[in-house]
C-alpha cells in the first residue's frame, strides 16, 4: 500500500533529519516549521489573514529524499490587492520578509517546475512567522545588552503585548459584526413590511387599472 511505503519513507527521513538537525542545531534559525507536500501538477497555496503593519518572515527549503536529485520549486507571494511581493523560479530554498501595508489575506503559492516534474510530490519545509514571532531578539539583546533571564522576560512582555493587541482587535471586530447584525435585523423587518406594502399596492393598482379598462371598453 502506498500509504505504508510513504509512512516508512517519512519515518526514515525524519530520523535522518533529526540527526542532521542535532548536528546543525547550534546556529540554525529553525523555528520549527511546517512541512507541506507540493503536488507534481498544480500549486499548493497557504494563506493567512494578516493585519497591516505586521512583520512577516518566511523561509522555505525543499526537503530532498534522495541524495542525488534535488527537485526545484517556484514560489510566489501576493498581497491581498494582488501585488507581487516575492517571486522566484527554480529554486531549492529561499526566504522573504516584508511588512504588511494592507490588512487582508496574504497568499504564498508553491509549484514544482516543469523540468523536475514526474518525481512525485516534493516536500517543502516552510517557516512562516508573523508579528511577535518574527522579532529579532538577538539584535535587541545585543543593542540593549541584556541576556539570560531579562531577555526571556522581555520576550514574555512582547508576547503579552501581542495578546493584548489581539484582544483589542477581536473586540473591534466583534463590535463591527454586532453593528452588521443589528443592521441586518432592522433591514429584514423593514423589507418584509415593505414587501407586504408593495403587494397591497400592486394588487390595488391592478384592480383599479382593470376596472378603468373594463369601464372604457364598456364591459362593466
Amino acid at each position: 500500500m502506498s500509504g505504508n511505503a510513504k509512512l516508512r519513507r517519512s519515518v526514515m527521513f525524519q530520523a535522518v533529519l533529526l540527526v542532521v538537525l542535532m548536528l546543525a542545531s547550534s546556529n540554525a534559525p529553525v523555528g520549527d516549521a511546517i512541512w507541506l507536500n507540493v503536488p507534481p501538477t498544480g500549486t499548493k497555496c497557504v494563506s493567512e489573514e494578516i493585519q497591516s503593519n505586521v512583520v512577516v518572515l518566511s523561509d522555505y527549503v525543499v526537503v530532498s529524499d534522495d541524495h542525488g536529485h534535488v527537485p526545484t520549486i517556484s514560489a510566489k507571494v501576493t498581497s491581498p490587492y494582488g501585488n507581487n511581493l516575492h517571486h522566484k523560479e527554480n529554486v531549492t530554498h529561499g526566504q522573504f520578509a516584508f511588512t504588511t501595508q494592507e490588512a487582508g489575506n496574504y497568499l504564498a503559492c508553491f509549484w514544482t517546475d516543469s523540468h523536475t516534474r514526474g518525481a512525485g510530490e516534493v516536500s517543502v519545509n516552510i517557516e512562516w512567522k508573523t508579528g511577535i514571532a518574527a522579532k529579532d531578539w538577538e539584535s535587541v539583546a545585543r543593542k540593549e545588552k541584556i541576556e539570560g533571564v531579562e531577555l526571556e522576560l522581555r520576550k514574555l512582555e512582547g508576547a503579552v503585548e501581542a495578546i493584548h493587541e489581539n484582544l483589542l482587535y477581536l473586540r473591534d471586530r466583534e463590535a463591527e459584526m454586532r453593528t452588521t447584525s443589528e443592521n441586518t435585523n432592522a433591514r429584514v423587518a423593514w423589507f418584509s413590511i415593505m414587501s407586504l406594502g408593495i403587494c397591497i399596492v400592486v394588487s390595488g393598482s391592478q384592480i383599479w387599472y382593470l376596472k378603468c379598462y373594463f369601464q372604457k371598453k364598456k364591459l362593466i
Binding site: S47, E49, A133, V149, I163, R187
Partner: protein, 212 residues
C-alpha cells in the same frame, strides 16, 4: 570558574532551545486529502492547536458532512481522529519525537479552506540533559509562564478564525436579505404586470364574439 562557564553555556543552550518555540498559523485549501507535517523535537512536548473550516461556499444545504481530521504519530499510530467537524481544538503530549502528520480529508468535491494553528511547547526538564548539567528552576518557571501565554495565544487564534467565519456568514446574510427582497419586489411587479397584460389580451380580441 569551570562550573560558572558550564552554567552559562547551559543557560545559553537552554535559551537557544527556548527560541525553538514555534508558532505557525496558516490557512490551507483542501480538495481531497491534505497533510501538514511538523517535527516535534523532544518527547514529552505538548502539542496543542486548533483548526476551523472557513466555508468556501455558503450554500443551501447545512447537511455538509464536515471535514475529517486525524493526527498520526511518527510511529504510525493515530493519536486523534475526528469525523465530520467544522473546527476543533486539540492538545496532546507527544509520546516520542519525530514527524507528526496532521491530515485533513474532505469527503465532498468542493474545496474547503481550513485555518490551522499548531503550537509545540517545550518545558525543559531534567530528562533530556547531559548528566553534569542541571536545569535552573527559574528557566523552568519562565518556560511554564511562556507556555501559559502561548495557550492564550492559541485560544485567540481559534477565536479569530471563528470570528472570521461568523463574519462571512453575517455578510452573506446581509447580501442575501437585500438581494432576495429586491428580487422579490421586481418579480412581484413583473408578475402583476404580466397578469394585467394577459387579461387585456383576453378581452381585446374576444370582445366582439364572446362575453367572458
Amino acid at each position: 570558574m569551570e562550573r560558572k562557564w558550564r552554567k552559562i553555556w547551559g543557560l545559553i543552550g537552554l535559551l537557544l532551545l527556548n527560541f525553538v518555540n514555534n508558532v505557525s498559523s496558516l490557512s490551507l485549501t483542501i480538495t481531497k486529502v491534505e497533510c501538514v507535517y511538523k517535527i516535534v523535537r523532544s518527547e514529552g512536548d505538548i502539542v496543542s492547536g486548533n483548526f476551523v473550516v472557513v466555508d468556501h461556499h455558503i450554500f443551501w444545504s447545512s447537511d455538509h458532512p464536515g471535514i475529517d481530521f486525524s493526527i498520526i504519530s511518527p510511529g504510525g499510530d493515530i493519536l486523534h481522529n475526528l469525523k465530520g467537524t467544522s473546527g476543533d481544538k486539540f492538545s496532546f503530549k507527544a509520546p516520542r519525537s519525530g514527524l507528526y502528520q496532521f491530515c485533513f480529508h474532505n469527503p465532498l468535491s468542493t474545496p474547503e479552506t481550513i485555518a490551522l494553528y499548531i503550537h509545540i511547547g517545550h518545558i525543559p526538564n531534567e530528562h533530556n540533559l547531559a548528566k553534569n548539567e542541571h536545569v535552573d528552576p527559574i528557566n523552568v518557571k519562565i518556560a511554564e509562564l511562556r507556555e501559559a501565554l502561548e495557550a492564550v495565544t492559541t485560544e485567540q487564534k481559534y477565536l479569530k478564525a471563528r470570528d472570521a467565519v461568523h463574519r462571512r456568514t453575517n455578510e452573506s446574510t446581509k447580501k442575501r436579505v437585500i438581494g432576495y427582497t429586491v428580487g422579490e419586489y421586481i418579480l412581484l411587479t413583473i408578475a402583476s404586470v404580466l397578469q394585467v397584460v394577459y387579461i387585456r389580451r383576453l378581452f381585446s380580441k374576444s370582445v366582439g364574439y364572446n362575453r367572458i
